[in-house]
């Protein structure tokens, strides 16, 4: 009898740990929100939420890129500088088109389309290097940092891009729905208002766009053949090959997708800050990778999901903006995120699934 009780207790504990391994990120996020709501006046408010969301697009896009790459068993270090590269290219193109006498909005649209086409080239190169020429992802994408950074600096000659049409800033600083009570309602673009008019803003444009991408690509990763193949390659490459998956082509697609997301992040940068800058993404690159790992993806591949990454992103965003609202230097964020990262990896190693896999 005694034996049986012990066994059940063991199972209960195991279950608890397994649950903790799966859920600790979201529990931590909730604790974080509750704590900041208590200690930081004005944090738990519409305004506070807006601040977090409007600062979210870069880390969201870069971590989305990393989610696909990391699940496939690789890593992409070039996302930050591909982002800078595309911010420079799109800003330069838009300014050039406006200079040619084109309509502002049309210049922006044409500029974006061309940038998207150029922006996937670094990914294509990364993919070919990794999949066909067997260069380790770390080295291949690391070289791409230098190449994209150098080209962007050459394009802007060590400076910034100026004279973008003002409409760009109004898109980047607008919201999905902007209401001036009794006067106007506008979508995506912030309205011109008189001083003192009340402005109600619902969901920043720069959050809505990445969120649409997240919805769509969460579906792609979870429920399509493309997604399943990504998990399969990350889980066990040999098995994936035996199962008849074209691993090389698939990996090239993954790196191109990663570059694509980084390019969109660069375009977002242009709208938000009305300029293009070669090192625009430098400070977001590590946050992007960390968010994926905190979210519970395994750096060995095969484990992770877009939604878990989203939780990882918000752990970082809430921390950063909460500390800012308190007026505490965000250096604390670096320390706390570092600690969380270690835990994330340790918990990942302790999770029952991985133990079973080892066995």
């Amino acid at each position: 009898m005694a034996d049986i009780t012990i066994t059940t207790r063991k199972n209960g504990l195991q279950k608890f740990f397994s649950q903790l391994g799966n859920r600790w990120a979201i529990i931590f996020l909730f604790l974080e929100i509750i704590l900041f709501s208590i200690i930081s006046p004005g944090f738990f408010s519409v305004k506070g939420a807006q601040v977090i969301l409007i600062n979210s697009p870069f880390i969201l896009f870069l971590s989305l890129a990393e989610t696909f790459v990391i699940i496939s068993g690789g890593i992409d270090l070039s996302v930050g500088f591909v982002m800078g590269f595309s911010s420079v290219v799109s800003a330069k193109l838009i300014v050039a088109f406006v200079g040619l006498g084109m309509n502002d909005l049309l210049s922006i649209i044409v500029g974006i389309v061309i940038t998207l086409c150029i922006g996937i080239i670094p990914g294509l190169v990364n993919g070919i290097l990794v999949a066909r020429l067997k260069v380790p992802p770390f080295i291949a994408t690391f070289s791409m940092i230098g190449i994209t950074h150098g080209i962007s600096e050459l394009l802007i000659k060590g400076s910034y891009i100026r004279n973008l049409p003002p409409i760009a800033g109004r898109i980047g600083n607008g919201s999905l729905i902007n209401i001036v009570p009794g006067k106007t309602v506008s979508f995506f673009i912030s309205p011109t208002i008189q001083r003192g008019d009340q402005l109600i803003e619902i969901l920043p444009t720069v959050f809505v766009i990445p969120f649409i991408f997240i919805l769509f690509f969460a579906f792609i990763l979870k429920s399509t053949k493309f997604g399943q193949h990504t998990y399969a390659i990350g889980g066990n490459v040999d098995a994936a090959i035996r199962a008849g998956i074209n691993v090389k082509t698939h990996l090239i697609k993954i790196y191109m997708l990663s570059s694509f997301f980084s390019t969109v992040a660069g375009i977002m940068y242009v709208f938000r800050y009305v300029t293009g800058k070669a090192d625009a993404g430098a400070m977001f690159l590590l946050d992007g990778i960390i968010a994926v790992v905190i979210g519970g993806a395994s750096l060995y591949g095969g484990i992770g999901s877009v939604w878990k990454t989203l939780i990882g992103c918000f752990i970082i965003l809430v921390m950063e903006n909460g500390l800012r609202m308190l007026g505490v230097p965000t250096f604390y964020k670096l320390i706390v995120i570092g600690i969380i990262l270690i835990f994330a990896v340790l918990i990942d190693q302790l999770s029952p699934e991985l133990i079973h896999r080892e066995e």
Partner: protein, 358 residues
């Protein structure tokens, strides 16, 4: 299996300790601030009640927020001046986080977070970009917050003409172009009105340093035997400034003078000159009286330092803002405190010590 489990317990324990530590740390600060605020409010309420009894006029309390450009001695000095003036006038004074790097991607999130809780009447901001700060500041202005730009400005800095960036109350800061012109004159004097000179600049996106470069360029053009060989942008990174100046020294072996437009570019420039063994041969004119540059001046590595008056900039900003909020007086669109020159001769002069950024 057993080891793994104990390890897991340690992890959980550490996690909770770390979280409690970090949040109690942050919490203490917030609590202290909140208590102070509450105490101040109480006081204010009491005062108000007394005043109402006496003259039945309730005085309004104002809150001023200072958003600096980067964590450096100039910005700290500006904040100190503003804080002192705010205390003197009895207005609330808040400081947003000092950014780790110069640029809109660092400054705008700080600006937005600092204003999210509301309750701010005036923002004194050092805009790190002439363009990128227009949209977010306009948004705050539209909510009824008055804006003063200190040290740097939006657009071309002319707020008296109607434009999409003319909403700030005023620009408070040094006349950068005039400073550049006068540095050119001093440089000409040091070099006997002949020789090649070079500008080590920082950010083409930042109004203040661009104007310094323009002033210097114009000033040098007055001297027929002097040539400006170039202008480089180090983006506020000292190491880059050092590399760029070193390259120029290679290319123009007869170079006679360098103008470093702020502390990072000046420090990088003089280091390059020192490394090339040209101390004293190539004259260095610099901007901003940081302790480092003043020491370099004493050691003979730098020959001229222009001291701005950041403390006064802070004071004047708060004063102009207070007059506007309390009495509705519109300040001048440009408020310009002067500047001082440090040379090897006057650097130990007791009267000059007050202009060193502490």
């Amino acid at each position: 299996m057993k080891m793994k489990k104990s390890l897991l317990w340690i992890v959980v324990l550490l996690l909770s300790i770390a979280m409690v530590a970090v949040f109690s740390l942050a919490g203490c600060k917030a609590k202290a601030a909140a208590e102070e605020e509450a105490a101040a409010e109480e006081e204010a309420v009491e005062e108000e009640a007394v005043k109402e009894e006496v003259e039945e006029v309730a005085e309004e309390e104002f809150t001023i927020l200072y958003v600096s450009g980067i964590a450096d001695p100039f910005m700290y000095m500006l904040g100190k001046g503003a804080k002192a003036k705010a205390e003197e006038l009895g207005v609330n004074f808040l400081e947003a986080e000092y950014a780790k790097s110069w640029g809109p991607e660092a400054q705008i999130p700080i600006l937005e977070a600092a204003t999210a809780a509301g309750g701010i009447d005036l923002i004194i901001v050092v805009p790190t970009s002439t363009e990128a700060l227009i949209a977010p500041l306009k948004k705050l202005y539209d909510q009824g917050i008055a804006i003063i730009t200190a040290d740097c400005f939006l657009g071309d800095g002319d707020y008296s003409v109607e434009s999409n960036y003319s909403f700030p109350l005023a620009y408070v800061g040094t006349d950068n172009k005039l400073g550049g012109l006068q540095i050119a004159d001093h440089m000409a004097e040091m070099l006997g009105e002949e020789g090649e000179v070079f500008i080590q600049n920082t950010n083409p996106d930042t109004s203040s340093v661009v104007a310094r470069g323009e002033g210097f360029t114009e000033g040098i053009a007055k001297y027929p035997n002097m040539t400006l060989v170039g202008e480089e942008w180090c983006l506020d990174v000292q190491q880059t400034a050092q590399d760029q100046t070193a390259t120029i020294l290679q290319k123009y072996p007869d170079l006679a003078g360098v103008f470093g437009v702020n502390l990072f570019s000046a420090q990088g420039a003089y280091q390059a000159v020192v490394n090339a063994g040209l101390t004293g041969v190539v004259k260095i004119a610099s901007w901003d009286a940081t302790p480092d540059l003043i020491n370099a001046l004493k050691e003979g590595k730098v020959d001229l330092v222009l001291a701005q008056k950041p403390y006064e900039v802070g004071q004047l900003s708060v004063e102009a803002g207070y007059n506007y909020l309390a009495n509705g007086i519109e300040p001048d669109k440009r408020i310009i405190p002067g500047f001082e020159f440090f040379t090897a001769e006057n650097v130990d002069d007791p009267d000059m010590q007050q202009w060193i950024y502490q």
